[in-house]
Subunit: 302 residues, 2 copies
């Protein structure tokens, strides 16, 4: 099954009718719109940025009902492939981004994407490491819920490690989970400091399975060694409006996963995290919720 | 010149007499004590942790007066080599560490270190990536200043990328800079979540130079490709009691360095940081100041 990038929604809502019912284990393919929902094009310039209609941004394709998924289950999402378009955009949007006070003016750069790299600026190339910025399930609380902030149900987490070869584990909040995804990036740094990556359309091939009664407290990612700058790791997350609380939440989740998967006592798992795990600020711009992730090499779980 | 690990001090103070005057460009070698100042040994057990005398912890060897260094200059420190001892300790110290509430009891593990790895737990090996936890210059404000919190003058920054092959740039606060270092780790993760790495004695070979009137606002690290899990990068820092403010400070410093070193306009440097730089929580345990670092591959500065 192949779903089109026009079949999107712009808020999380448990009452949205699913586009399709997906059988666990089957592969399906999803085209995603860019984060501007087509408002920006390869011909856009900085002056077009202030005109963006924010009610349309970060559209996600979906939702997909997953057969048999029930609240309290874990939804295991294998990202088999993410292919990106031949161009992307990166912008400073006034009022948005970590240095919003320093950069009050709109600024847009359009990258051409070819041969595994994006030309962000004339002569400045960034390696293409495709990722899915927004992927989540419907929150159980009545909606609509806005698209920009991520939550424990996923959404706009902007974790750059959610790319080809990665496995994402989300808690299921409603019957059928109601999975949606979009907001692909051809490249992004941990933090996404200006609020945008190389924003692009994409085609994502994926497969989902359901683990009964195994919902994680917050999303978990098993990263792929192809992910730039880090190898294969288990990454737990903390999501919320305070970076310190998110760091505590991510670390607590990692210590729990180490204990659960290896049988180590929690106090030893904590020491292992201290000497071998890395805390990353995955995003610090999707107001008002930030994501901290705690990464430990998958080899420790063998 | 080779300095012994007994020649330490346990607070930062601009009035401390220097051990020696170092000529810029000359190599010298510094033995460092472990963070417990020898209070813990390879025979120590968890029950020994509560007895630690905290007035002695994190001793640094020094200070070294650097010939010609003046306030407002940059002190450029090339870490040529860090060799660590054959054992190290890792502990949960009650009241200290990111998950202090979850882990109220003392817990100690002694690692044997050989063949490039530390055996943290029976059968659980961590790659040895030596680093210097505490390295800094005397603050210009009258002291003494405690050893645990880092500051813009460096100190207990616990940035795991400050290891062999790295270059650290510190602002100079007083005549002669008064450089000191200690608190080596055989391994540590970004964040140092339990508050300790694999704590060990070390021997550090280094060389310093002075750049006139070039003090960075906060410390800068040029990391070495040998550093585990990331390649060669320029890392700027933010230091303080609020992770968000530290993230802003580190990002602002990175955008400034990109512009200064490449000539790119600030608004383009900001977009480059957004798509290619990574925010890491270097330490979140050295109360009350945390360190966030922003890393961009050195290749962008070529």
């Amino acid at each position: 099954m192949h779903f089109k990038r026009t079949e999107t929604h712009a808020a999380w809502d448990r009452t949205l009718p699913p586009l399709a019912v997906i059988t666990p284990g089957e592969e399906f393919t999803v085209d995603t719109a860019d984060a501007s929902a087509g408002q920006l094009t390869a011909a856009s310039v900085s002056a077009d940025v202030p005109g963006l209609d924010f009610t349309q941004v970060n559209p996600v394709t979906g939702p997909f009902a997953i057969e048999g998924a029930r609240p309290g289950d874990a939804l295991v999402i294998d990202i088999l492939d993410v292919s990106v378009a031949s161009w992307g955009w990166t912008a400073n949007i006034p009022g948005f981004g970590l240095l919003a006070e320093d950069f009050p003016d709109p600024h847009l750069r359009v990258s051409s994407i070819a041969d595994g790299r994006a030309e962000l600026l004339p002569g400045v190339f960034v390696p293409v490491v495709p990722m899915i910025g927004t992927i989540g399930v419907a929150p159980p609380e009545p909606g609509p819920h806005p698209m920009v902030p991520p939550s424990r149900w996923g959404g706009n987490m902007d974790i750059r490690h959610v790319g080809p070869g990665a496995r994402l584990v989300l808690p299921v909040g409603v019957e059928g989970a109601l999975l949606s995804l979009g907001d692909a990036h051809a490249a992004m740094g941990d933090g996404e400091v200006a609020g945008t990556g190389v924003e692009t359309e994409s085609t994502v091939r994926l497969r989902v399975t359901v683990l009964q009664d195994a919902a994680p407290v917050t999303p978990i990612v098993e990263t792929d060694a192809r992910t730039q700058r880090t190898g294969a790791a288990l990454a737990t997350t903390g999501v919320g409006p305070d970076l310190m609380a998110a760091a505590v939440e991510a670390t607590r989740a990692l210590v729990g996963e180490i204990s659960r998967r290896t049988g180590l006592p929690a106090e030893d798992a904590y020491l292992l995290a201290s000497v071998a795990a890395d805390l990353k600020i995955s995003e610090v711009v999707d107001m008002p919720n930030w994501v901290v992730s705690a990464h430990l090499a998958l080899s420790y779980f063998d």
